[in-house]
Amino acid sequence: MKKIVEIKNITKSFGSEVVLDNINLDIYDNEFITLLGPSGCGKTTLLRIIGGFETPDSGDVVFMGENINGLPPHKRNVNTVFQRYALFPHLNVFENVAFSLREKKVPKDEINKRVTEMLALVALKGFEKRAVTSLSGGQQQRVAIARALINQPKVLLLDEPLSALDLKLRKDMQVELKNIQKATGITFVFVTHDQEEALSMSDTVVVMTEGHIQQIGTPVDIYNEPQNAFVADFIGESNILDGMMLEDYKVRFSGHTFQCLDKGFDAHEAVDVVVRPEDVDIVPEEKGHLRGVVTSVTFLGVHYEIIVDIGGFKWMIQTTDFHDVDEHIGLFIEPDAIHVMKKSKFSGMFGDYSSFSDEMEQIGEVDLEELEELEAESEPDNE
């Protein structure tokens, strides 16, 4: 495969905040690549550097073997679908799509032909004369894609293009985007914070946080073989435990020694262990590797999500069988359900299900005793 864009040692900061720290990334021809990460991880900045809207502090952007660091956006063979589409409100659908052709002084007949073709590709035939402000979100999205594709760019940059759409429409658009990418053969660089979206559409996923790339790989690799606690937590649900590698294929965590499929660690090396909630089997207490008490149960339709307290650590387990709160259960974990990772700076930050979000952790739980005390104090004295 041919490299089409090479990002080399790119660093970028806004003021004192380093947004991208020495990033290296190769993007190949005809690839659907997704930059995935939480907000503020630098993914949009990286996209804007490729588009030419930001200049890196240091490092190079190479486009088809040519350094394009100083090249302004209008001279790059790259187009962008913006986050809230950025359609020109004063122009109708046709004129929005024709914008770049008019800028290039393409003959009128050819403009007509190409715009009509492009509108057909995005299923917007008959919308030529409509005002873009009168379109629905999904239709605006299609116009934005048509407008960006009409120039036949080598690379299409998409900055969270689906974030404004509702859930069902988003799923449809995911399929459609993938189809358009296959039909046109153009490289898509897609930015999102939605891991499900990233997994379902991409050939390659690039997981980023805090200005660093954490892992590059296929969706399956990323999910099954996360490289550190951050990736494991960000992609899907994970129980992440402190463990110790005893020898190859043998890891100890939660007070029990398990068989596993991982090797190549030092003897007695401290590691992070990932167990996905859907990979844990619930068995009668005496038959389990581990024993715990159910602390909460949430019904989610397809399955139950239950939180189990095992020696103070809250595990999340997805099961189709109902278990009641306060029930004592056993957990059975197969070797292929266990994934062992090297310790990283993210170790200990994720993987315990006492709360789902960081925010809730900061707020803390409502202290019922304190509440009662407060109430008692505020009771008027009747004596």
Binding site: G51, A86, E103, A131, S136
Partner: protein, 279 residues
Amino acid sequence: MKRASKIYTALIMVFLFAPMVILLVFSFNEAKSLSVFSGFSLKWYRELFRDEETLKAVVNTLVLAVLAALISTVMGTAAAVGMNKLRNKVLRTAMDSVTNIPMINPDIITGISLMLMFVFVGRLFGAATSLNFATMLLAHITFCLPYVILQVLPKLQQMDKALPEAAMDLGCTPLRAFFKAELPEIMPGVITGMIMAFTLSLDDFVISYFTSGNGFQTLPIRIYNMTKKTVTPKMYALATIIFFVILTLLLISNLYDEETVQKRREARANKKNAKEART
């Protein structure tokens, strides 16, 4: 509206319009009297149109207002674009505060301050009187600028920042991107700013009074000079004409507004229909 509200509003309107109506009625009075209407006549209008000084003042005012509006609109729009992009907080605050000065300062101080500078600089170059059309134009541009900036800035802030980027992405140079993507978006603000600058310049008396030379009269200064001495109903005729010009302009702009509101409503209806059609 409730009855009490209606009565209250009506009373205020009487207060606002009674003086206008009186001017209007007495502009057609045959006699010079201010209190007794002695018969219909167009005599004062005829006299007004024979008053060359006033006619010249009208022309002067229009020339001045057009120039002041155009220059302040171009410079003010550019300034707003630059200020909107300014990331340096200290510089931005400084620009904002300086822009606010002519709006907060009483006109008399703005007028006096400009006059003092013009006189001082004029004296440096040995001119006896340095106040003329040019100084007045400079003054008018100065007090119009903040109003243009204040009309354009919010439009820039409301605009999707990605629009000019999208234009550049599609092959425009930064300058063309401004004219093709940004300017159409902020145009309502630019137009309102220009209209405001134009009317403020037309209407200004105080600053003009201090910065005009003896040879150059605008309409407000002409009115001031006319009302300084004896009263003449010619003034009423002039006021009546101004009143109707303003009334027409306001009605036109209102109709225009309603048209745009109507268009927006239609667009909304379209959108709704489209939604219903899909479901």
